[in-house]
Amino acid sequence: MSSFIDRLETDLVRACDVPVAARWSWPAPLLRLSYRARLRTLAVLAAVAAVATPAIAIGVGPIVRDFLGQPVSTTAVAPPAEQLALLGILRDPPPGATVDPATLSSLGFPEIHGIRTNYIRLLPPAPGFPHQLLYTVTSGRLGAPDPALGEKAPPETKNLICVEEIDATGGGGDCTPTSVLTSGHWRESNGLHGYGLVPDGVATVVLRYTDHPAQTETVTENTFSWQGYPAPEGPIVNGGGHPSPGPTPEIPASVTWLNAKGEVVPTHTGSH
């Protein structure tokens, strides 16, 4: 007696073998209507479409797809004033930093919506991060559903700041709420290479470690980078109980922002 796996395989092979014919049928909601009612409904839809189509065409931006090939919506609307005020590279990009949306032809992040196509910026390159783009989106779902919290789907978070490495030789990238930036936590690593994002007004950052000397890095166009220290030797076990031999950089124990005068710029840790 065959299992459902065997039956499914048989069905899939059969489906793979059958020529795909263009079939047309009434959409399911219309099937519930009489033939004359279907025609009346289609006539109304056609009339509405004739008016609406030009408006839709204006609103549709360049097609961007995620890595599954699914289209991602875009918008010409500007980011919120808060993000523009925080990131000069968004508000007033240096020459060559504005990027054509076509560059985002295959996004690495699923489940984001409303890429703001007029605000895609090329970030300064750094070792390990040769070609990173900064863009913002109207919303996105972060992480996975958490049944322990009663979540049936990941919560939709509005106004995310995204950084994406588009060079296959590089690493990094994430979509995060603005609070991650203002809290001073926006950092990423690729091996021992590190990269960070800071708001306007931060001229240098001081990275302090538990077991190593502090590092002072200069900020360029809202970004900074550093070369990290190797973590202490020893087995590292991840949350799933699987051994992870590394390499894992020792992360900075703290990051201090300084302005051009060398004064400390406070971070906003309450909202993260």
């Binding site: 299992s3 890595f67 296959a168 973590a231 992870s244």
Partner: protein, 181 residues
């Protein structure tokens, strides 16, 4: 291996339907294990499994679409997205199955036992570790499969939550780019 996977899918696209069966036999256990860990009802896991492979078949049958660079990664991410949609809509999508007129999945006691056991299958982890660098695989499995929170994973890995988030992101990017081939 992902390289062979792509050859199988190309052959299936070229008309060799048995190759899709071979591809299914190679990966159904991994995808089913992934799903069985996430849902309590075997019937739902079976429906999601069928829809996931039917969705990939839709890609294979459409010559205008590129075949995924990492077919197993594609299957796992698609299965996860279908699972999220199922949570959202209260039912498993059947768009691809309807398109190919696949028979509804009917399970007997033996099938249910297969699904329950597959939820404890360690092959899934092994395949992910074949595809990804170990630090990315660690982060991805801890977050996506074991469903641990970022702070918990970070503490267990002796690193920061931000680093873990980046590793998960990079793991997805790696699957996208086919670097695990």
């Amino acid at each position: 291996m992902a390289h062979d996977d792509q050859e199988l899918l190309r052959a299936a696209r070229g008309g060799d339907a048995e190759c899709y069966g071979t591809f299914f036999r190679a990966h159904h256990a991994v995808v089913l294990a992934f799903l069985a860990r996430r849902v309590d009802e075997p019937e739902v896991a079976a429906d999601l499994l069928a829809e996931t492979f039917a969705a990939l078949l839709a890609v294979v049958r459409d010559p205008r679409r590129d075949l995924p660079a990492s077919p197993l990664g594609w299957l796992l991410v698609t299965a996860r997205n279908l699972l999220i949609d199922r949570y959202r809509h209260g039912m498993v999508a059947e768009t691809a199955r309807r398109r190919f007129e696949l028979a509804p999945v009917a399970l007997d006691d033996r099938d249910i036992e297969i699904i329950v056991q597959s939820g404890q299958d360690e092959e899934l982890l092994g395949r992910i570790y074949e595809l990804l660098p170990v630090e990315q695989a660690d982060a991805l499995t801890a977050r996506v499969i074991d469903e641990l929170d970022y702070p918990v994973i970070a503490r267990g890995s002796n690193t920061s939550e931000a680093v873990i988030r980046k590793r998960v992101s990079r793991a997805l990017a790696t699957l996208r780019a086919g670097l695990g081939n």
